[in-house]
């Protein structure tokens, strides 16, 4: 029994499940591009980025080598309040029993800044040395 679930956003292959389930498989491949200017080339993301194709090593489980016995003495799960603002990128919020959860999220995040945007150089250009200048006049105030 669940009294209250408050969820604002469930997105990008995320799952919000109340009740039992057998198998949940969820995949998300995300190409996140932030540009200083509003610009989108329609064919972006069609290319094959290695991050999206490289295999992620998984633990191979031998399900025959162990046996799990479950005894549901009390069949009910009692939940008062769950507040989850966001569920995202192949994640799972699950109230109840399940057998198998298999999720994978691959995110490639790129930022593009215009070269002559008038932004402060210190913000965008890596400097070879760091200089710390103590401003004593302001400290005395």
């Amino acid at each position: 029994m669940v009294q209250l679930v408050h969820n604002e956003l469930t997105s990008f292959s995320a799952v919000l499940q109340i009740g039992d389930s057998k198998e949940i498989t969820s995949r998300a491949k995300v190409l996140a591009v932030q540009r200083q200017q509003e610009l989108f080339f329609g064919n972006e993301g069609e290319g094959n980025f290695p991050l999206f194709t490289n295999p992620i090593p998984r633990l191979a489980m031998d399900t025959t080598s162990w046996q799990m016995n479950k005894l549901n003495e009390s069949p009910a799960i009692s939940v008062r309040t769950i507040r989850v603002l966001a569920i995202s990128f192949s994640s799972v919020v699950h109230i109840g029993s399940t057998s198998t959860i298999d999720t994978e999220a691959r995110v490639k995040h790129t930022r593009q800044l215009a070269a002559n945007s008038g932004a402060k150089p210190a913000l965008i250009a890596p400097q070879s040395s760091i200089r710390i200048i103590k401003d004593e006049s302001s400290c005395l105030q």
Binding site: Q36, S91, V93, A105, R106
Partner: protein
């Protein structure tokens, strides 16, 4: 290996989470097998300063 689970009374009060993300799992209950993976790539070269050109895959 034998593994025995006895589910007695399960009561959960108030749970407040900001976000469950990038292949995370929040589970009230039990599971046989959970397999999660997440890859996040934002290398130094992912910060591109220059003309706003389309992204192209590179090795």
């Amino acid at each position: 290996m034998n593994f025995t689970v006895i589910n007695r009374d399960l009561q959960v009060g108030d749970v407040h989470i900001i976000a469950v993300t990038s292949s995370a799992v929040f589970l009230i209950g039990d599971a046989d097998m959970i397999n999660v993976a997440s890859a996040f790539d934002t290398p130094p070269e992912a910060l591109i300063i220059g003309p706003l050109v389309p992204l192209t895959p590179r090795g």
